[in-house]
Amino acid sequence: MLDFEHPLDDLRARIDALERDAEADPNSDITRELAILQLELEARTADLFANLTPWQRVQLARHPQRPHTLDFIERLCSEFIELHGDRRYGDDPAITAGLASVGGRSVVVAGHQKGRTTADNVKRNFGMAHPEGLRKALRLFDMAERFGLPVLTFLDTPGASPTLQDEERGQSWAIAENMARLARLRTPVIVIVIGEGGSGGALALGVGDRVLMLEHAVYSVASPEAAAAIIWRDSKHAPDAAAALRLTAPDLLRAGLIDRVVPEPDGGAHRDYDTAAANLANELTPLLDDLCAHDPDDLVHARYQKFRAMGEFTQAPAATS
């Protein structure tokens, strides 16, 4: 339970108690009381979520119960065969990748994979990919192109793993090579930011024909904590940094950096995985149909132009130069 959700706790507790009472005494009539409480919960939830601060969204995006890549794959795909390894160095559990079927269509999927338990998170390095994880995804991107399969990527990472060992195996090179490959891939690529889109580690899976973003996901050049440490010299200013960075889905849609905000169920995706996945499927299916109808040359050209346009600039007075 996140701090800002506490105002709803009391209501939820009263509803639970009422339902327990009714179970104990089947003759009691709680229908009316329950309906009132539920209406109030809905209203207050809607109110709370309509006015989330950026920092609250960061917390939602990182919610320990938030659905992760595998949770979405499970619900979106009728078949999933996870494939392993980069054929060079290792297999990285921080990246999940494989072959799947979405609405009867074969696709390649790849995403950052966070754990839910501590042990699982240690194994998965909290979703922070090693170079070999990004290279596993790269291998599957190549496979997608070879067989003409569209690619779906799921972004959910605090960033790429930054240790000395990751530097030794060329973390920067892995990120750059993935971006270059995705930019030129001759098959449709759809990017979905499902939780935390953190920095270059996210962007290594983030170059696509369309970028969708879940309503409460965030996507940022740096974590609010890191930005606060740089800008305010104090990571306690993370909430300020979160606001300043404009990292929420609605902000990024306005900025033209993403294409679509996918609505989450009331109270956030972590309260209802199935609805979260169904909302995503609603967007995904027509998008796949549309993109798969395009010529590869056109796709690659349009993808280049799409990212080509990202970046504001202006003209200095000629005297300065």
């Binding site: 000395l164 530097e167 990120i175 050049v221 404009r246 202006t314």
Partner: protein, 271 residues
Amino acid sequence: MHYRPEFEASLRVCPACNYHDRMTAAERIALLLDDPPSFRELDAEVTAADPLEFQRPSGSYPDRVAKARALTTRNEAVVCGAGSLGGRTVALGVMEFGFIAGSMGGATGEKITRLFEYALRRRLPVVTVTASGGARQDEGLFALMQMARTTAAAARLGEAGLPYVCVMADPTLAGVTASFAAVADVIIGEPGATIRFAGSRVVQGTLRRRAPVEDHTAEWVQQQGMIDLVVARRELRRTVARVIAALAPHPAPAHAPSPPPRPAASPAARV
């Protein structure tokens, strides 16, 4: 260019310990291009916008940019243009570390992207010299996307069979290392230059397998297999010229493309 006499003697390299001091973009350009100076700058007027209306406690982003412009006499953290290198016209992009730590924002990315596109149109090799702290925080996700767009532009060059050489100078970090710098055909590090992905983060490294040199220096990064060569400044022009000659043995007739006219104010400018 006006620095030429003094660095001609020292190249900002300590004769005692081979320490390679940082250079300005102008010094770099003079170091790399042939005599007489042939550099024709492109897109010099492109400068940062403020898409996030970003405020630091120390002031607004436009204030920082204004200070950087005053300090460097440049409008952005990269200087782009064309000139003669080893008797052949190349497109050259040199980062200006003095401009907000060489950080990459939308205008920086725009200039680098235009440089690759310019080279593609004229079928020229590209040389970049990187010196950067990474993505420019003040532009938020716009800054991150410069990694994607500059890398995509570089990738098109390779498809067209045009060579691309990157010289990683001190420091080459984070969002620049991990984008257009890393995808060069041949990568040259300057002696002692810090080259790494993780910026100021604390890194707990214990394993030291193969490293008789200091972590994250160009020499170390070469040992890890990530860059091709570590080349002293005195040899840099010659080495870059040899690499380009080897990769593009049959260039578009040398000297033929006259120095490009500065383009009119770009219609692509969005702000």
